[in-house]
Every structure is written in C-alpha cells, then in structure tokens.
C-alpha cells in the first residue's frame, strides 16, 4: 500500500503544473456528432462513403462462418474490426448505431490517453492543452467519427500499453495490449519497436532495461513473423501499384483531403519539429524515425492517423515557442499569434464545410432506394467509389469497387470501365456491357461535373441520351438511373 502511494506521489510530482481540467478536453469529440447533422442539413447522407464500405463488409461477414471468412481472405483481406462488429450487431440499424457509439467512445478515450501520456512525459500543461486541441481539430482525427477504423483501435491499445509502461504498472498486460494492437493494424509494430527502444535507451534501472530488451525481442520477432506471412507474398503483385501512382498524390492529401493532414497544422508542426531537431540531440533517433515515417506516409496513407498525434504535439510546441520567445518587435508577437489562430480556424472550418458537402447526397440515396423498391436487379455501372453505396442500398454489385481497382485481376475490368465512360461508339460500349453483364448505369452530379466528364455530351453521356439501347428509368435533381436494354435478337 505504501509502495503504491509512493508510486502515485512520484507520478504526481512528474508534472507540477498539470491542471486536471485538461481532461475535459477529451469530451470534445462529442461535438463531432454535429457533423452528421451538418451533412443532413446540406442534403447529404449522414455518413461518408467509407462507412458504406465498412457496413457492406460487416454484412458480408455476418452471413459467413469464421473459417469461410479466412478462406476468402485471399481475395478480400480479413479485417478484425469488421468481424467483431458483425458478431456483435444484430440488425443493420443496430450496426450503424454501434459504429457511431464505438468510434465516439474510442475518440474520447484516445484523447484522454493522449493527455495522460503527455502528462507522464512531463510535458508542460500549456503544450498538453494546445497539442490536444490541435489533435482534435485535425482532419484525419475528425474523420474517424464516420466509421470504426482498425488503425484507431490499434493506436488506442498501443497507447494504453505505453501508458502502463510509463506508469510502471502491469507490464505483462501492457505487452498483451501491444500484441492485440498488432491484430488490428500491423504497421503499429514499427512505432512500438521504435518507442520501446527510445524508452529503453533512456531507462537507467538495470532491471527495467532487461525487461525492455526482452519486450523488444518479442516485438521484433512478431514483426518478422507477421511481415513474412502477410507482406512478403504480396510484394510482387502489389509493386506495380506504387509505381503507377503519381509520386506526390499522397502529398496532395495535405491540401484538405478528408483523411489527410491539415496544411497549416503540418507547417506549424514542421516548425516545432525543426526546433526540436536543432535545440537538442537527445531525441535524435525519435525525430529521425518520425521524419522517415512522415515521408513514408506520402505513400502509405494509413500512417497519417498515428502520425497526427505527433504532428499535433510538434505544432503545439511551435505555437508555444512563438508565444514564449523574447520578441524584439513586441507588437508583432500578438499579431503573429492572432494570425496563426485565424489560419488554424480557417483550415478547420473549411474542412468541416468540405466534410458537410461531401457526397453521397440524399438524392443519390433516394434514387438507389427507389431502385431497390422497384426490384431492379443487376450489375450497376458507376464510379468505383459509388459501389459501396449502391451495394448498401440495393444489394446490387457494382462493376468494380474503388479499394480493389489496383488488383491485378481487376485491371481489365478497370480498363473497360474507362473505355465505356469515354466511348461514343455504341457497338464498343454494348460489347463491354454484355461482357460484364451490366444492367444499369448510375450517374451522379459529381460524375457529370468533372469527376468523369467535363462536357454534357461527352462519351457515355452522349450515348445515354441519343441511343435507344439505354432507357432513363429514374431522374432526381441531376442523379440519373439508366437501364441497359440488351438487344436479344443480335
């Protein structure tokens, strides 16, 4: 008992200026619920298209046994989060509520754990508050409210494990949490190994060092095991995927992409990072690791979310530095801080606007609901990103789903899709329709306004309007549903 009290006292001494009210910040994710209402107000569906992707997988899993899912995982990679949700949820509506509930709870818990970790790392209270606020307004973090992300679960488990280590409590449970986190998102291993090493390097106690060394070996073995099993066989077929993509395509995620970095926060963070890099050599390896991870995130989108936590911290550090440095032109200090505040505010508000205006719209949903009610069944041709929404509302498959575009077996399908979108040759188009057994064409406003076509009579749009092979069966505020009337005599 005395020992426990001593430990507690020790942890309290660690951060003298910590204000317990800081924990209240972890309630801010509750305000994200307003995003659903904002989307509805802008006549969009409450959820983003990622949600429909997840819910379709859950529904798919719900009808299969575990063995069947594993057997099919060669085609569609197994996802533990969706599997667990499919086992918990009973109905479709129940699943929707579960996803919102879990993602909201997780976001609050993660924020709490983030504050706790920074506190344990003896970060000044001002920096904790700032970095938490920045984290809470970062696009990649806000967007997590719309679906239950495996990466987020993995980060949460790793956070708790790391916290237990920092607090010198239940190290075995911590290790177990690390292992569990790997089941949800394997790349977390890199973060775990690196930070375990950083912690090991700073630990002075011999006993702790031995324990850390052992943990490090376990983690490294796990990493080798996982990557040997899952990554190695996929290296060859997936290599073209990276080659074909534009080098900077992920960097553009910086510019307001729904799941990317926020540009002003990233810039602030780069200032904070530079300060950390040049002011002290203590964190050299940690900084190098983060720099490499950031560069990798331009290719591997999944790394953006875990890096957001560090980026928020460095951004807060930059703001703190600007506020606390001795200014020769004193008048400029407040002007600069005000401008930074405006900049971050503008970035967040424009992000919220983007997320509220993002498709799918209510009209798109209504057209699909009508399609199901009127029993129109068949493969639907549309943009690959619309496929989850189509499947969710109509149970009809799309020609191709966006996350599977780059699979080798889908290359032909994808090239046919591009050809059919831009061809004005009826014969060529009908051949492709027959080849893939396409029954319907679903056209949204975004497709007509630049996502596919730029002119009103371009490619397939011309054929839809001018050929009797296609019949418009439903139209609602620019959203069109066409039926392909197969020429049986031919």
């Amino acid at each position: 008992m005395i020992k426990k009290n001593k430990k507690r006292k020790c942890s309290e001494v660690m951060n003298d200026d910590f204000d317990k009210r800081t924990y209240l910040l972890s309630l801010i994710p509750l305000s994200y619920i307003t995003l659903f209402f904002l989307r509805i107000k802008k006549e969009n569906t409450p959820f983003l298209s990622h949600f429909y992707n997840q819910i379709n997988t859950i529904n798919e899993y719900a009808n299969q046994t575990f063995i069947e899912i594993i057997r099919n995982s060669r085609i569609t990679p197994f996802n533990l989060t969706e599997y667990l949700l499919s086992r918990i949820s009973l109905t479709q509506q129940n699943t929707e509520l579960l996803i919102i509930f879990f993602s909201l709870t997780l976001l609050m818990l993660i924020t709490y754990a983030y504050i706790e970790i920074l506190k344990e790392l003896r970060t000044p209270n001002k920096t904790i508050i700032l970095s938490t606020i920045i984290l809470l307004i970062t696009p990649s973090f806000i967007s997590q409210i719309f679906f239950l992300n495996s990466t987020l679960i993995s980060i949460f488990l790793a956070q708790i494990g790391f916290l237990l280590f920092l607090k010198n409590r239940n190290r075995n449970i911590a290790l177990l949490l690390f292992v569990f986190s790997l089941f949800f998102w394997r790349p977390i291993t890199f973060f775990l190994i690196f930070f375990s090493y950083a912690y090991y390097d700073k630990t002075k106690s011999k006993k702790q060092k031995t324990l850390m060394r052992r943990n490090l070996i376990y983690l490294a073995l796990l990493l080798i095991f996982y990557y040997f099993i899952f990554i190695f066989p996929n290296i060859l077929p997936s290599s073209y995927y990276f080659l074909t993509r534009k080098f900077f395509s992920k960097i553009t995620a910086v510019f307001g992409n729904l799941f990317g970095y926020s540009l002003p926060i990233l810039l602030l963070s780069s200032i904070g990072f530079s300060i950390s890099w040049f002011s002290s050599k203590k964190n050299f390896w940690t900084n190098t690791f983060l720099l490499i991870a950031f560069l990798l995130s331009t290719y591997f989108n999944n790394l953006i979310l875990p890096l957001t936590f560090f980026i928020s911290f460095f951004a807060a550090k930059a703001i703190n530095n600007i506020a606390s440095r001795k200014w020769e032109l004193e008048a400029l200090r407040n002007v600069t801080l005000f401008i930074i505040f405006c900049l971050v505010l503008l970035s967040t508000s424009s992000y919220i606007k983007n997320i509220s205006n993002n498709p799918p719209s209510m009209n798109e949903q209504k057209v699909l609901v009508w399609m199901k009610q009127n029993n129109h069944q068949g493969i639907v041709l549309s943009l690959p990103k619309n496929t989850p929404l189509i499947t969710y509302h109509t149970n009809n498959p799309g020609l191709i789903i966006d996350k599977e575009i780059y699979r080798e077996e889908n290359l032909e399908r994808y090239s046919d899709l591009i050809n059919v979108f831009f061809s004005r040759n009826l014969e060529e188009t009908t051949q492709i329709f027959d080849k893939h057994n396409i029954g319907y064409v679903y056209v949204t406003n975004e497709m007509k306004n630049g996502e596919v076509w730029n002119r009103k009579d371009q490619g397939l749009l011309f054929l839809l309007k001018n050929s009797e092979t296609f019949k418009n069966i439903f139209y609602l505020s620019g959203v069109e549903l066409w039926r392909y009337q197969k020429n049986e005599t031919g």
């Binding site: 900077f248 960097i251 553009t252 910086v254 510019f255 307001g256 540009l263 002003p264 810039l267 600007i322 200014w327 020769e328 032109l329 008048a331 400029l332 200090r333 002007v335 600069t336 401008i339 930074i340 405006c342 900049l343 503008l346 970035s347 424009s350 983007n354 630049g450 730029n454 002119r455 009103k456 009579d457 371009q458």
Partner: protein, 502 residues
C-alpha cells in the same frame, strides 16, 4: 539656407526631375491610344468597374469560359475602382497607373542611398530603375498590380533597413507595408523567402541572426499563408501543388515557365542592372556584409532558384530580377567609383560617373523602342468595332468562340460569354479546351469544328488578327455554307464573325 540643406534640396529636385521625365515619356506613349495593350487589363477593368458599381469584385463571372468562378486577390482592382468613381475616363486611369509605376524612381533612390550613402550613385540607380525595359513594358499601357508592387517592395526593404535606427518609429510602417504588399500580389512570397534565406546565410556564416528580420519573416509568412489560403483554398483543395503552375495549358507552359538564358535577361533587364547587379549580388552575399542589401541579394538568389525549378513565370521573374538587380547594382557602382577615386587620378570620378550615365542610355533607348512597339501592337478602334458590333447586334444568349487572347475583350467590349480566356486558374480540363479550340480553327472538316463548337455551347466563331496569328490561317478553314453563316465582316480589319447554324 545652409550647405547641407541646399545639397538635399538639389537632390530632391534631381529625383523629382527624373520622376517627371520618366512619367512624361510614359505619357507620350500611353496617350496615343485610348485602349490598353493586353487583354488581362480588360479583366482588371471589368473587375474595377464591377467594384465601383456594387462594392464587390466579380468572383462568379457569367462570361468567362461561359460561366466560371475566379480566385484572385482584388486589392489592386479596388484601388483602380476608387479612381473610376472619380472619373470613367481611361486616360485618368492610365495616368494614375503610370504615376504609381514611376514612383519606383523615388523608392529605388531612397534604398540605394540607404545602402551606399552616396547621392550620385543613388541618382544613377534611380534613373536606371525607372527604365528597366521589362518593367517599363509591363507597366506602361497595362493594368496590373506590378505597377505598385515593386515600388512598395523597395520601400518596404528601405524601412526594414531603418528598423535598426528607430524600431518604435518604423515598426508600424513596416507591418502595414508588409501586409499591403502581401495582399497586393502572391509574388510577395519572393520577399518572404528572401528574408528567410538571408537568415539562413547569416547562420551559415556563423554570424548572429537579425532577430527583427526573423520576426518580420514569421509574421509575414503566417499572414501570407492565411491570406492566400483564404483566397485559394478551393483551388488548393482541387489542384494541390499544381496551383504553382496556375493551370496554364501544357502547350503554353514552355512560354510561361521558360528558364531564361543570360542573354535573354541581359536584353530584358538592361546592361547596368544585369552585369553590375550580378557582380553586386556576388559581393553582398559572399564578400561584403551590407545588411540593407542582404535582403535584396537573398531575394535575387531565391528568384534564380525559382526559375530553375520552373515555378516562377518568366514575366514575374524578369521584372523582379530587373528591379532588384538594378537597385543592388548600387553596391557595385559605388565600389567602381570608389576604386577609381582611390587611384587619385584627377577628374576620374566625374569621368566614371559620366561613363555610367552613358551606359544607362542603351536601356533607356531599349525602353523607348519597347514603348513604341507596344503602342503599335495595341488594339485599334477599328478592331474594337468588331467587338462592339457583337454587343449591339447579337442575341444576349450568344456565346463567342475566339482565341485565348480575345477572351477578356469579348467579355469587356461585347458583354457576351467567351469559350476561353487567359485566366486559366480553375478552368476545367484546360488542355482539352485548348486542343479543341485549336481544332475548330484549323480543321478542314466542318463536322468536326461544328461538333466542338456545339460541345462548347458556342453560337458564333470570331476570326480576327489574333486568331489568324495564333492558328496561322486567313479564314476559317472548315467554312461551309451548310454549317456556318457569315454574319459580320469588318472591311477595315477583315475581322469576321460566323454563326454556327448546323
């Protein structure tokens, strides 16, 4: 009146004289035509007129590209609209624009004097700055923020260099000028990066960084970011890094983002600015530490880097280089005069000064030639008649297909939508549009040209001097009576307008 005051007064009179000469030479040229020399000026004018009528810029334009949104900083347009409220006379607008542009004579003098503390050198610099050929060309008979941007940039650098003397007195002026410069043009980034690069060079040299300059950099950097994020956020969201290329069609990119050869800069910038300016930049950045000139040298280096990365348009690059090299050359000129003075040869100083003034003459003559060519190539009253005919005779729903260089003229004079103009930012699928417009004017098959015209929603096709020059033909090659009807011919200019009827 003491001797010192007399000397100052004489200097003021000399600078005022150079300013007046510069302005009247400008006046001689621009008063010869009631029109502006480029189509972009008519975009500015349309915006300014809209502001003077409604108080707001025209961000949603029903005419450009047959309806589109603009993204730009409207400060210069507000300034012009203020003068439009006083008088609608184009001559007044030209006078104001050129008066502002001619102030470069004064600001370059002030900065050069601050750097060299030598009135003779500063006078030579002010004379050359006013007649930097490319600056003279781009500010003489066109409406563009460039006319104010460079005088203010030099004034700002002057006040930044004064901060050391009296921080409290000048900090306010510096902040206001800095904010004004930033909102005036995105090109202000060159100065911000110049400030940063200057501090990096100082750090590399192992010297103490100037804290005031660092602070000015921080505030200007964030302000720049905030302001242009506010304006361009949608463009940035949709195009990402490609915003640096301004959505300029691929075919034109070679002309816009050309890496200049030394010979090209030599002619566009002038003799003294180029040779002595380069030498001075080398001196300032490597050998001599002149804090006032350091910012200029760093900005020049940033500009040269930018040109190699092909992210600064050739126009912006040559004007900036011309002005900055012109001003920084004061360091080299002073060094030259001083070295001859030290040689203790009688009258040598006067001789060197005279030689330098003689060296300015080619730049001056070059500017005069440029002015003459510019006015000669300016749109004429007869050519404007064609555009006015469209306004008077054609239906309100008419959409005119023209070359890219006539787009703004159609919007301004004809008050009808165009298919393409030189404001490319956020124009959808610009490469395809460029290619298709070219096809309309060059194909021999009327079915192709009429189909494309129909896809653009164009009701009429304009054939004039610009289309003939760009697409190298005398008349529409695909003309066929079944598909086109000639509705207008300008007998003086041979301009034609065809109606698409099939």
């Amino acid at each position: 009146m003491d001797k010192k005051t007399k000397k100052v007064l004489l200097q003021v009179l000399i600078i005022f004289f150079i300013f007046t000469i510069n302005f009247f030479i400008r006046y001689y040229f621009f008063s010869q035509t009631p029109y502006f020399s480029d189509d972009a000026s008519y975009f500015v004018l349309r915006q300014a007129e809209h502001i003077s009528e409604t108080g707001r810029p025209l961000f949603e334009d029903p005419y450009s590209y047959n309806s589109r949104n603009y993204f730009f900083s409207p400060i210069y347009h507000y300034i012009i609209s203020f003068f439009l409220l006083i008088s609608k006379d184009m001559l007044l607008i030209k006078v104001i624009n050129n008066l502002l542009a001619a102030t470069i004579v004064i600001t370059s003098y002030l900065l050069a004097l601050n750097i060299t503390k030598n009135a003779t050198v500063s006078t030579i610099i002010s004379l050359t700055s006013g007649f930097v050929p490319v600056y003279f060309q781009k500010t003489l008979n066109t409406l563009s923020p460039t006319s104010i941007f460079f005088p203010i940039l030099l004034l700002l650098v002057y006040f930044i260099s004064l901060l050391k003397q009296d921080t409290k007195k000048y900090v306010g002026i510096v902040v206001y000028l800095l904010f004004f410069l930033i909102i005036l043009s995105p090109l202000s980034l060159i100065l911000i990066l110049g400030l940063l690069f200057n501090q990096i060079l100082t750090k590399i040299d192992g010297l103490r960084t100037n804290k005031k300059e660092v602070e000015i950099f921080i505030v200007s950097f964030f302000f720049y970011l905030w302001y242009y994020f506010l304006i361009y956020k949608q463009v940035v969201f949709e195009t990402g890094f490609l915003i640096l290329r301004q959505n300029i069609p691929f075919v034109l990119q070679q002309d816009y983002f050309l890496t200049p050869t030394p010979l090209m800069v030599f002619f566009l910038v002038g003799v003294i600015p180029f040779i002595i300016g380069m030498f001075s930049t080398y001196l300032v950045s490597v050998k001599e530490k002149i804090p006032q000139a350091n910012i200029l040298a760093s900005t020049i280096i940033i500009l040269v880097f930018g040109s190699f990365l092909n992210i600064i348009s050739i126009n912006a690059l040559t004007i900036s280089l011309g002005i900055l090299l012109g001003v920084i050359s004061c360091v080299g000129v002073k060094k030259l005069i001083d070295s001859f003075v030290n040689a203790k040869v009688p009258l040598l100083k006067t001789l060197v000064t005279l030689t330098l003034i003689i060296l300015v003459i080619p730049s001056l003559l070059s500017s005069l030639k440029i002015g003459e060519d510019l006015i000669r190539d300016t749109i004429t009253t007869q050519e404007v008649e064609t555009f006015m005919w469209i306004d008077k005779e054609l239906d309100d729903n008419a959409v005119i297909l023209s070359s890219v260089y006539d787009g703004h003229l159609i919007s301004y004079f004809s008050k009808r939508p165009n298919v393409v103009d030189s404001n490319f930012l956020m124009a959808q699928n610009i490469d395809q549009v460029w290619k298709d417009v070219r096809t309309v004017y060059t194909t021999l098959f009327y079915s192709d040209s009429a189909r494309l015209a129909f896809e653009f929603g164009a009701t009429h096709i304009l054939v004039n001097k610009n289309t003939q020059k760009v697409y190298e033909f005398s008349d529409l090659p695909s003309f066929d009576e079944a598909c086109y009807k000639e509705v207008y011919t300008n007998k003086k200019t041979n301009d034609k307008i065809y109606q698409v009827i099939c």
